[in-house]
């Protein structure tokens, strides 16, 4: 609890003049730097991007390789230099972990802008399907308005008021609109689209699972065994046959041929090790790609 309130070089007391001064200074320096970037000669461009990339990656690499301090208590101060670094790294982690999210959020505007531009152009030029572009823009604007309106109304409420406001009898227009659009439509459409897959799985299986090649036959056979094991009825039917064949004695060898045993055997013996081996490859591919990106080794740099 004490840690959360601690102020240091990076953190100033909320609402204090020092904090606002630092924020203002940071923004001013950044503006100056951006101006500098605009003037940057082209041979320096790559090194600049590479430096930003390297420094960002370095944080996690340091976090990984730097000895971590043991048994740290909230009131402890670092005992030596190694500990200073290690304390700093673990304190900074929650803040750094957010950086990607924040940047991604800022960049979202790029995407929404692209989408709007496509549909506004379509509308302006009366291209094919322009009427549907109106539908898109209207739904987009309405949920944005209701969403922010409802959010604004909830700001500054005490928990008790908030509890009251969430009761359906007390709903405002904003809340109602937001709910219908979000819970009523958006969420329902998510689920509807998701469940479409069941149809496609049927048509894909019907078409692909045919005994044409060795590979397709293997695929078919193991898929069938696993599917049967999921069917409680098939499992029970098979179990009864096994029991009739002498499986009612728990020590009997034939017990290993129960459907769940066979499916479990396939999963444990082939699926798990197989996926594991693929994952080793993927993991190493990601590690190598990560290294190439981090150190900007490729021709195009980060992109």
């Amino acid at each position: 609890m004490i840690l959360a309130n601690a102020t240091n070089f990076w953190a100033r007391e909320s609402g204090s003049g020092g904090l606002f001064l630092m924020v203002f200074l940071t923004l001013a320096i950044c503006a100056a730097l951006i101006f500098g970037l605009l003037q940057m000669p082209s041979r320096l461009r790559r090194p600049v991007v590479a430096t930003f990339t390297f420094v960002s990656g370095l944080f996690y690499v340091l976090l990984w390789i730097w000895p971590q301090a043991q048994d740290r208590k909230p009131t402890d101060l670092p005992a030596n230099f190694t500990e200073s670094v290690s304390f700093w790294l673990s304190d900074a982690l929650p803040k750094i972990a957010n950086v990607s999210n924040i940047l991604t959020a800022f960049l979202l505007g790029l995407g929404v802008f692209s989408l709007m531009r496509v549909h506004l152009t379509r509308l302006a030029k009366k291209q094919r399907d322009w009427s549907f572009s109106i539908v898109l823009l209207v739904s987009m604007i309405s949920i944005t308005i209701f969403g922010y309106w409802d959010w604004a109304q909830r700001q500054g409420m005490t928990p008790l008021q908030l509890e009251e406001a969430t009761k359906i009898e007390n709903w405002t227009t904003a809340r109602l609109g937001q709910s219908l659009l979000f819970d009523g439509l958006l969420q329902a459409m998510d689920a509807a689209m998701f469940s479409l897959i069941a149809f496609y799985i049927l048509s894909a299986a019907y078409r692909a699972f045919r005994i044409r090649s060795i590979e397709a036959t293997i695929l078919l056979a193991s898929a069938f065994l696993v599917m049967f094991s999921l069917l409680g009825l098939a499992d029970l039917f098979w179990s009864n046959m096994i029991n009739a064949a002498g499986g009612s004695d728990p020590a009997s060898f034939i017990n290993n041929f129960r459907l769940s045993e066979i499916a479990g055997f396939i999963q444990k013996t082939f699926q798990v090790p197989g996926i594991r081996a693929i994952q080793f490859g993927i993991g190493i591919g990601a590690l190598a790609m990560g290294l190439r990106l981090w150190l900007s080794l490729e021709k195009g740099g980060v992109s």
Partner: protein
Amino acid sequence: MAQVQNEKTLGEKLLSIPRGVLFFILVLATAIPLRCKVTIPNNPAENSANLYRILMSIPEGSTVLVQSDWTNSTRGESRGQFDALLRILMRRNIKFAVLSVGDPQAPQVAKDVVDAINRERAEKGERQYRRWEDWLSLGLFPNAEGTGNGIALNMSNTFATKEESDASGMKRKVMLSPVFQGVESVADIAAYIIVTGTKSSQIAIERLNNKVTMLALVTGVMGPETLTYYASGQLKGMSAGLKGVYDLETMMESGLNVTGSPNQVPAVPGEYPGFPGQTNLAKGTQYILTLHSAIFLLIAAVVIGNIGVILSRKKGQS
């Protein structure tokens, strides 16, 4: 392939059933059995049995962390799992704190389910689970990786900014709640339970598995991948998909390895009673028959396709 003829041979017909027909039959096969009430016999999987074993052996009054990352899009499976999990935790008086990484909707969905189960308990005259005292909603942690690392390294620091209203309506830091009494680090947590329909379980496992007992309740599609973590011991128990829900529900109904119970899993040591007479058979039981009819349709479609292949191959040879 058979020769080109004006009339399609039977083999060709079987090979080219229009998608529309298949789709229409599937709608019927899923809509009709929902109305039927038939109980299907079951045999719990070892991983589900281990999940149940660990849930039933957590000492009463201890605290677990529940990472709930599912939303309405996987409601068909995750809701049943979450219901079953909450019923077990509440009946065994285990305190829990719910956190979500990733999906912003997940905390609200989780809260709604806890409320629903609480209503169910109220109707039966059982003790309600009170927010702050018995359970906490820690809310959203948007960065799964960072949160995993943070919980592993310094749990109280990771939760430091989160606040909840206590009994008097005052907002206080969650680490002061009775739920976290005696909990200093993640090692003091009895289990870390993940309910998810995405890969968020793996991110947590990668960062936490050597610190705390980890359990997972995942959707059918995440099942196979999560199974590798169960097989390597990084997860101590898991339940996958609707079958997993049904496994849990039948074990809650009649216990595990108890004499007279149909649920016998020799690989799992010990006997664990169920909660006879309470609401055990729920979503999983309601959906499992329909699942049967849908899978049966799938199998039938594949068999028909292959009969088609064989028939047209014979034609081609002759």
